[in-house]
C-alpha cells in the first residue's frame, strides 16, 4: 500500500513504526524540516517538506497514486482541509483524519463520511472508550480487551516463582488446569511465537489469552471480586473525562467523584452530569484526598493535561490507600513503560489508542481490532473469518502459520469463546484472535483477508 501521512509528529511516527514493519510505502508531509529529518532517520520512508493544505505539495507527494491519506497533525482544521482537498482532487484515495473537536455528544459513531473524508478518528473518544473498557473489565495491569469477544489478553511477568520456570507451556497448562493460550513470549533478547514445547524462563513476559475467570491462578492480584459499588475518582475535567462519563450508566455515575481545579469547568460538568460529585479543588493540594474522604475509593484515574502530574497523582493515590490507579499519557509515549516502576495499574495513551484505531481502519472490513503488545514486537489481530478466505473451512492444525503466529482464541457467532484445539474447524463468522510477530504480518494477513479480485 502507498500511504501518505500528513504530520510527522508523535502519532505520525508511531503509525510509520507499524506500517514500515509491514513493508508499506510511507511518505510524510510536514512543514517542519527538523521533524521530517527525524522520521526519515528512523524509518524507511520519504519526506515532503511543505504545507498539507497546498494542492501542489499534495501532488508532489504523489497523492494521485496513493492508497491512503492520513492526516494526523495537531490541528483539526488542517486535517479536515487537507483530507477534503485529497478527497475532491483524488477521489480514489481513502482519507483518514484525526479530529479532536468532533461529536460533542460522543454519538457520531458510524456517522460515515463528512466532507468526503472516508474515516474520522476522534482521539478523545477512542481513548475514553479504551478507558471505559479497562474499567469495565477490571483494572488489570497490562490488559487488552477485544471488540467481538469477551476474552482478555494479559501480560504476565514470570518472576522467581518456582511454579513456571523451566517448564514447557503444555506442562503448565496441565498443572494449572486453566484454559489459556500463550500468544507470545518476550524474553530479554527478542519476542517469539511459542508452541506447546517452548520452555518458560525466569523474567519472560507471557502474553496470555483466556477468559478472565479462568485465569485466576495466573492473576492472583486481580482475582479479587469486583465490588458492587465501585467508586472512582476522576482527576481533571477534559474531553476524555466527558466521553468517559457519557459511557457510564447512572448507577456507575453515582459512584464517581470528579476533581477539577477550574471553577467554570466544574460548573459545566456539574450541569451535565448531576449524579457525579464534582469537587472544585487542586489535586496537588496535600489534604484534598483525606479531607474529602476519598482514600477508601477503589480507583483513581488521572486525566489532566500534564503527563507528569497524571503519573505522580496515580502513584501518590496508591500511597494514600486508593486501591487502583490509572494515568493518562498525552505527549510522552516513553512514559508508557513507567507503570511497573511507579506501581500504577495501567497507563493509557491517547497517541497509542489513536494509532491503533487508525491502523485498524487500514486493515479491511473483517478486522475488528488490532493491538500491539510487548513494545510493538507483536500484534494481536481480531479477524472475522469470511468465506473465500484461505482459512475458512479448515482445521486449525491444517493452517500453516509457519511459526509466525498463533490462533489464540475463537469466539463463535453466538459469542461463545473457545480456547481452540487443532481439530477445530473455522466457520464463516467466527471471530479469531491471532497473534503475529510484527515482521510477518504480510504472510498471516493473506490467510485471513480475501483476495482483492
Amino acid at each position: 500500500m502507498k500511504i501518505i501521512i500528513l504530520g510527522a509528529g508523535r502519532r505520525g511516527s508511531r503509525l510509520a513504526f507499524h506500517l514500515c514493519k509491514e513493508d508499506e510505502e510511507v511518505s510524510f508531509i510536514d512543514k517542519d524540516g527538523a521533524r521530517l529529518d527525524n522520521v526519515l532517520y528512523k524509518f524507511d520512508c520519504m519526506g515532503i517538506l511543505g504545507n498539507g493544505t497546498d494542492i501542489e505539495v499534495l501532488k508532489q507527494a504523489n497523492c494521485a497514486d496513493a492508497d491512503v491519506f492520513i492526516a494526523v497533525t495537531g490541528n483539526d482544521e488542517i486535517n479536515i482541509v487537507s483530507c477534503g482537498l485529497v478527497a475532491s482532487e483524488f477521489p480514489k484515495v481513502k482519507t483518514i483524519a484525526a479530529i479532536k473537536n468532533l461529536g460533542w455528544s460522543g454519538k457520531n459513531e458510524g456517522m460515515g463520511s463528512i466532507l468526503g473524508i472516508s474515516e474520522l478518528v476522534n482521539p478523545n473518544i477512542v481513548t475514553a472508550k479504551l478507558l471505559y473498557s479497562i474499567v469495565k473489565n477490571g483494572i488489570y495491569n497490562n490488559i487488552i480487551t477485544f471488540n467481538k469477544s469477551d476474552l482478555i489478553l494479559y501480560n504476565y511477568l514470570v518472576e522467581d516463582s518456582k511454579k513456571f520456570v523451566s517448564k514447557t507451556i503444555q506442562e503448565i497448562r496441565k498443572e494449572t488446569k486453566d484454559n489459556f493460550v500463550v500468544a507470545a513470549i518476550k524474553n530479554n533478547r527478542d519476542t517469539i511465537v511459542p508452541n506447546g514445547s517452548t520452555i518458560i524462563n525466569e523474567n519472560d513476559i507471557l502474553s496470555i489469552v483466556g477468559e478472565p475467570k479462568n485465569l485466576s491462578s495466573l492473576m492472583t492480584n486481580i482475582s479479587k471480586k469486583q465490588k458492587e459499588k465501585f467508586k472512582i475518582i476522576l482527576v481533571g475535567g477534559s474531553m476524555i473525562t466527558r466521553f468517559f462519563l457519557k459511557q457510564c450508566n447512572s448507577s456507575q455515575l453515582k459512584n464517581i467523584t470528579l476533581i477539577e481545579m477550574k471553577k467554570d469547568i466544574c460548573n459545566e460538568f456539574a450541569n451535565e452530569f448531576p449524579q457525579v460529585v464534582v469537587l472544585n479543588a487542586d489535586i496537588t493540594d496535600d489534604s484534598i484526598l483525606t479531607d474529602s474522604h476519598l482514600t477508601d475509593y477503589d480507583l483513581l484515574i488521572s486525566l489532566t493535561e500534564s503527563d507528569e502530574l497524571n503519573l505522580i497523582t496515580a502513584t501518590y493515590s496508591k500511597k494514600m490507600g486508593i486501591e487502583r490507579s490509572i494515568a493518562l499519557i498525552r505527549n510522552n509515549i516513553n512514559y508508557l513503560s513507567m507503570e511497573s516502576y511507579l506501581g500504577i495499574d495501567a497507563v493509557i495513551s491517547t497517541t497509542e489508542s489513536t494509532v491503533e484505531t487508525v491502523l485498524s481502519k487500514l486493515r479491511g472490513s473483517n478486522v475488528s481490532s488490532i493491538h500491539s503488545i510487548l513494545g510493538g514486537s507483536m500484534e494481536v489481530y481480531e479477524y472475522t473469518v469470511e468465506e473465500n478466505t484461505k482459512v475458512c473451512g479448515k482445521k486449525l492444525s491444517a493452517i500453516n502459520m509457519k511459526g509466525k503466529g498463533i490462533i489464540a482464541a475463537i469466539s463463535t457467532k453466538s459469542f461463545k469463546s473457545i480456547i481452540p484445539t487443532g481439530d477445530y474447524v473455522l466457520n464463516p463468522g467466527d471471530n479469531v484472535l491471532v497473534s503475529v510477530s510484527a515482521g510477518s504480518l504480510k504472510y498471516i494477513q493473506q490467510l485471513f483477508i480475501k483476495d482483492k479480485q
Binding site: C20, S27, L40, K42, F43, D44, M46
Partner: protein, 484 residues
Amino acid sequence: MNYKQDLKLLAFMQIFIALFMIIPTVMAYVKNEQLAFTGFLYAIGLIAIFCIFVAILTRGEKDPSLGTRDGYLFVTFTWIIGAAVSAVPLFVSGSYPDYVSAYFEVMSGFTTTGATVLTQIEDNPSSILFWRSATNWLGGMGIVVLLVALIPKVGSGGNKLVGAESVGPVKDKLTPKIQNTALILWSIYVGFSIIEAILLKVGGLSLYEAVTVTFSTMAAAGFCVKNSSIGTFDSLYVDIIVTIFMLIGGANFALYYKALTGRLKSVFKDGELHAYLLIWSTCTLIIAVFLTSKGIYSNFGSALRYSAFQNASIITTTGFATANYVLWPTFTQMILLVLFFVGGCAGSAGGGIKVIRVTTVIKAAGVHIKQRIYPNGIFPVKVGRDVIKDDVLISISGFIAIYIATGLIGSAIAALSGCDMMTAFAASFLCLGNIGIGFGAVGPTGNFSTFAPFLKWMFAFLMLVGRLELFTVFALFTKSFWKK
C-alpha cells in the same frame, strides 16, 4: 553497533563481487589466459572461505537493525575488503609487479579514479583488463547501493548504507522505500550503459572495446583497454558519444528519474544542473578559443572537439584523454586545474567536491558580502529554487576545508618520492577527487608506476576517502565512533 550483522552483509557483498567475477573468469578460460584464470579462481575461493567463515560466525543471527555507525563501518570495509579480494587476480596474473600495485589499481577502479600503474596496457590479458573496467562500473553507482537494491529486508538500515556510500551533501530519496530508490538508480545506470555500448558498437568499436569503454564512461572512471585512452580510436563519433555520456554520468541521477516520471519542470530548474553545464561550457569555449588563437589546432572545430572532451573528462572526474593537454599553453592547463576542484554533481557517478558544494559556498560568500552591507538583513543562501539550510551549509564548508587539507597533506607525503611539485600536487588531488589524470608526470600519458609501495597505499587510501566523501571513512578514526 551490530558487528555480526555487518559481517553478514559484508559476506553478501563479496558474493556479489564473486558473481561479477565469473564473466572475466570465463573470458580467461576461453582465451586460455592461464595465470589470470588461476587468479580469478583464487579470488573466488577466498570469497567462498570468507563467506563460510562468516556463516559459521553469524549462525542464528537475524535482527537486521543497522545504525548510522554500522552504515559507515560496513561501507568502508566493503570497499577495503572488496578491493583486497578483487586485486588478487591482477596480482596473480603477473601483470603487476607487487600486490600493492594490484591493490592500487583495483581501488582506483572501484573508486572510479582511473589512475593506473601500468606503463603498457594493451599487452595484458584481456580478462584482467575487462575486470579492471568492470570494477569501474560497479563502483560508479556504488556496490552497496546495488546490494540495497537487490537484497530486501535491509529496511531502514538501507537508508543509512546508501547515505554512507552515495555522494552529495543532501541525499534525495526518489521513492518511499530505499530499496526501490536504489533499484531505480541502478536501472537508469544500466539503461544508459546499454545505450552507450550500442552506440559505440555502431561507431565501429569491437564489442569488448565498446563494453569496457562504456563501463568507464558511465562510472566517470577512466580506465581504458588502450594505451592512449580514447585517443586511440581517433574518431569524432566516438569522441562525441563519450563526451555526452561522461556528462550524463556526472549529473545527478535523480534528475533522470524525475524526467522519466514527467517532472521535466523541476529538472530544468535544477540549480546544480545549470551550474554544472554552465561551468563546463564556459571552460570549453574559453579553452577552444585560446587553443585556436595560439594555433595549436588548425581550426576552431577541432579545438572545440578536444577542449569539450578534456573539460568533460576533468569536471566529471572521468580521466579519459584524447589529447595530451600537458603540452597545451599554461593558461588552458590552469583552467583544467580549476575544474579539479569542482567535480561532478551530487547523486552522480562522478567524484570531486561536487558542483552543488562549490556553488553553495560561492553563494554563501555572496550572501556574506551583502550581510556586511546590511548588517540586519536576512539573506537566504539559494541554489536554484532550494534554500540551503544552515546545518547543510556548515557541513559543506567543513567538507571543503577537510577536502583541501587532506589533499595538501597527501601532496606533501607524495613529494617524499622526490617528484616535482606539480606532480606531487596533482597526484594527491587526482586521487582524492577520483579524477585519474593530472599534470606533470601523472598527466594523460603518465602513470603511477614510479611511486614507492607506501605511497601507493596512501594514494589508494586517498581514493577511498574521496569516493566515500571523507566523513564516512574519517568517522571511523574518531574516538566517539567506537564509544559504546
